[in-house]
Symmetry: C2
Subunit: 214 residues, 2 copies
Amino acid sequence: MVERKEISKSVLKRLPGYLTYLKNMPEDSPAHISATALANALGMGEVQVRKDLALVSDGGRPKIGYLREGLIDDIEQFLGYDNTTDAVLVGAGKLGCALLGYQGFDEYGLNILAAFDADENKTGMDESGKPIYTLDKLPLFCKTHKVLMGIITVPSVHAQDVCDMMIANGIKAVWNFAPAHLEVPENILVQTQNMASSLAVLSMHLQAQMKSKD
Amino acid sequence: MVERKEISKSVLKRLPGYLTYLKNMPEDSPAHISATALANALGMGEVQVRKDLALVSDGGRPKIGYLREGLIDDIEQFLGYDNTTDAVLVGAGKLGCALLGYQGFDEYGLNILAAFDADENKTGMDESGKPIYTLDKLPLFCKTHKVLMGIITVPSVHAQDVCDMMIANGIKAVWNFAPAHLEVPENILVQTQNMASSLAVLSMHLQAQMKSKD
């Protein structure tokens, strides 16, 4: 891996795409892949892909490209997938439980340790065997386990309170699934994953299509 | 509801946020809410909220604001949540099954009818009682049920093939969870929900935080 440079969020957001493509290539693919081939396969600009890869790997050779396995290792190491990040999740509703039970996060190095909910009727074990505690247990849990990432899946009116509580207990990165704007101090990063917004855009497109048929 | 105007994607993406906030307000809240109050609550600009609401509702009164229940109805109607959109999902892996079993989509008017997978070992019923069929059943199913929305949760190398297959069978809107770029004809809309990208940004932030502590 190359020495770590400052890297923009937009580059960072593209890296998982390269990684997924590389990891899912057929086993009988050539051992090497060029930035050009990768760019073509993903429908992206060649120059952008070349620059992105150069930021995370020094394994590229002119006219040969990158050794695929080496490039996979470099991107994974860069993204920290080889280190596990422990997280807590607050809001054990339908979406929260779906995320809690989703084992696919393993491959991204994310490990959700436990969920928390204000409703004590929701406490216990979820189907995947992970614990769900009442929200008042969050502070001690975060401190004991030195948790740095928090996932918010509560209704949006409660999202800011939960976010504040997380930050007060040492959380530095918040993955927010509530369609709410969160105010955080400068050293805290929030990524909001607004599924309802995507759905709204898709539904509206379908309505417009139906209308044009009338 | 006001007469339907052309509305930008960015407005559309904000509407679910307003809706969720309005629907989650305490029962004893005042019956009216102003654009200013909503803007403050969501940490957004007052002018933007005022303009957005005026696009979907003509119920706003000077100094009084909107009747909350009426505004909720107007936004829901605008977003088509009162009409159910049927969808199919392709890729019955971990994420696919999590989405298939997620009942929270109901409130957005999304109904996933069935899942499809190339692996016949995955066929049968999922835990929520929804059917999973082999992929060769997709064409007939889409035509019989007049399905317009497709959800892609296959590995990114297969995403374009699945997308092409969906479009060939009448799908007009694609919700793509594979970190892949999809080429589609002009009248088809794709929304890509890249969870891995969000995670990458968060993980990198944590790595940077740890480094600054060393």
